[in-house]
């Protein structure tokens, strides 16, 4: 600081204004997006055909409903199944832990499409055996096979989410709870799960989104979900807008879900904000 009153201040560099390189690139890229969007829009307007819309819109809705049912059933059954698997993963018994690990590794390490084929066509070739134990009625239906494959798949992922969430709650919480005289079950229900849920919310949400997207493959094993109806409409009309409609619907669902998760997360972590 000098005595004569002129203070030399090292100013932070000016924030660049106007057309920086980032802005130019940004505007160019946005223009490309806009052009693509416009192109799709023009294509859709040109390809618009009220007959096709009237004929296929209800089918898309029924396809969407099949997709939602399939994902809901798989995710819920998968959640139930994931509990014993997660417990197995955390078990001190080496055999149980090993088996649970193998289960998780198999279903996370192989493509859902291959698993679905293995269950639908692979198990389908054991019809006499399945009939003998009365399970053929179940495996006869493509929808059940798909739901079964998806349930097994998502249970492996959900087990890992569950395990990660429970383990994220520190040991000290268990010890403190037991010091207070809470039983193990009480501790789990009142102390651990509420905290684990916060950690698990986002992975669970992502898992549901992954299932919605992944479920598109059931179209290949004769289930008319949204993708199946899309392929059928395309096979009949050879009109590419059928795929674009499907893209818009899938994007819409995923975005709504994503925002819902953000909103819930905001709500349940309010007490953590300062």
């Amino acid at each position: 600081m000098s005595a004569n009153g002129t203070i030399a201040v090292e100013r932070p560099p000016e924030v660049k204004q106007g057309w920086t390189r980032a802005r130019i690139i940004g505007v160019v890229l946005l223009t490309i997006w806009a052009a693509l969007g416009l192109g799709v829009l023009i294509f859709m307007v040109n390809a618009w055909d009220p007959d096709i819309f009237a004929r296929y819109a209800p089918r898309y809705l029924s396809g969407l409903w099949v997709t939602i049912q399939l994902v809901a059933v798989s995710v819920i059954c998968g959640a139930l199944l994931s509990v014993p698997i997660a417990l197995g993963r955390m078990s001190r018994n080496k055999l149980i832990a090993g088996l649970a690990y193998a289960y998780v590794y198999f279903f996370r390490g192989t493509p859902l499409l291959a698993q679905t084929f293995l269950i639908y066509y692979g198990l389908g070739s054991f019809r006499p055996e399945l009939q003998a134990i009365g399970l053929w009625g179940f495996f006869r239906e493509a929808w059940y096979c798909a739901a079964f494959a998806f349930t097994l798949n998502t249970s492996a992922y959900q087990a890992e989410i569950l395990r990660g969430a429970v383990e994220s709650v520190g040991r000290g919480q268990w010890e403190a709870a037991s010091a207070l005289g809470l039983s193990k079950l009480q501790t789990l229900r009142k102390i651990i799960i509420p905290q684990a849920l916060i950690v698990a919310l986002r992975p669970y949400g992502n898992e549901i989104i992954l299932m919605i997207k992944g479920s598109a493959i059931v179209a290949i094993i004769t289930v008319y979900d949204l993708m199946g109806e899309t392929r059928r409409a395309y096979a009949r009309t050879f009109d590419f807008q059928t795929y674009i409609w499907a893209a818009i619907i899938y994007l819409g669902i995923v975005e709504v879900l994503r925002n819902a998760i953000d909103w819930i997360e905001l709500r349940i972590t309010k007490h953590l904000k300062r």
């Binding site: 389908g124 006869r140 493509a142 096979a235 009949r236 050879f238 590419f240």
Partner: protein
């Protein structure tokens, strides 16, 4: 390190190289033929990865007739028309029926064969007739995006029609017992019944093809406006019908003339 990095860079570059070529080559005509490779005895893949079948042999005969160099490309059925339009090949020789819906997208040569559809059911089946009522509540398998699937969905509206990506898959499901009946070309089904796996099943009956759905027969699809190629194919079809080549191929596969009348 340097070398491996160079390879890593070269790979996508090589893969990205787009084949830009002219559709009208002047010297020997080069043709890419699209087929499915899952529809015996018309076109199917063998264990050594090569194509065989009636369509394939006819295609080879046509190419020889046109003095064209032909290359086969296999493509799943439900994407075969877009793939043609996208220029992945120049003609589809894959037992494709000439229909009005398809004509909106592609042009067809004259027919090169025409056979009726049929229904196949398990040997112990209780289905007695081929009417809508006979099949009410039954599960019928068909290949997706085919005239047979469209026919089944319109005719057997009280049945549950399931569609499969290829004929091989509905056969698999028929053997597995998931289907009460399958509909397809009578020859394809006969081939299936003659195979080891076909022991399960029998022909219920052939169906009268609905002209509105089935069209005049099986043709070769080309991109719209490619009249030169279409005319050449038509001429070649007529030529092999006349010079006995068609009959020679026909007799290798079938006991009757599949060309129809």
């Amino acid at each position: 390190m340097l070398i491996s990095r160079r390879i890593a860079l070269a790979l996508p570059a090589a893969a990205l190289a787009l084949a830009v070529g002219s559709a009208h080559a002047q010297d020997t005509m080069k043709l890419k033929i699209g087929t499915e490779g899952a529809y015996p005895p018309f076109n199917n893949l063998t264990a050594d990865g090569s194509l065989e079948g009636f369509d394939v042999d006819i295609a080879k005969a046509l190419c020889a007739e046109m003095k064209a160099e032909c290359e086969f490309v296999t493509q799943d059925w439900d994407g075969i028309i877009p793939a043609l339009q996208a220029g992945k090949f120049d003609a589809i020789i894959a037992s494709m029926s000439i229909t009005e819906d398809r004509k909106k997208q592609v042009d067809f040569s004259n027919k090169y064969y025409n056979t009726p559809p049929a229904l196949v059911v398990p040997k112990e089946s209780d289905i007695t007739g081929t009417s809508r009522e006979d099949l009410a509540g039954k599960v019928i398998g068909a290949q997706g995006a085919t005239t047979h699937a469209t026919f089944a969905e319109t005719t057997f509206s009280d049945s549950d029609v399931k569609v499969y990506p290829t004929a091989e898959e509905y056969k698999l499901d028929m053997v597995n017992g998931r289907l009460d009946a399958v509909i397809d070309d009578v020859i394809v089904l006969q081939e299936f019944l003659d195979s080891e796996d076909g022991a399960c099943c029998k022909v219920l009956g052939t169906l009268t093809p609905d002209e509105a759905i089935y069209g005049p027969g099986i043709g070769i699809a080309v991109r719209q406006g490619e009249d030169e190629l279409r005319e050449k194919l038509n001429a070649a079809i007529t030529a092999i019908r006349e010079n006995g080549k068609y009959k020679e191929i026909n007799d290798q596969y079938f006991s009757f003339d599949v060309y129809g009348d």
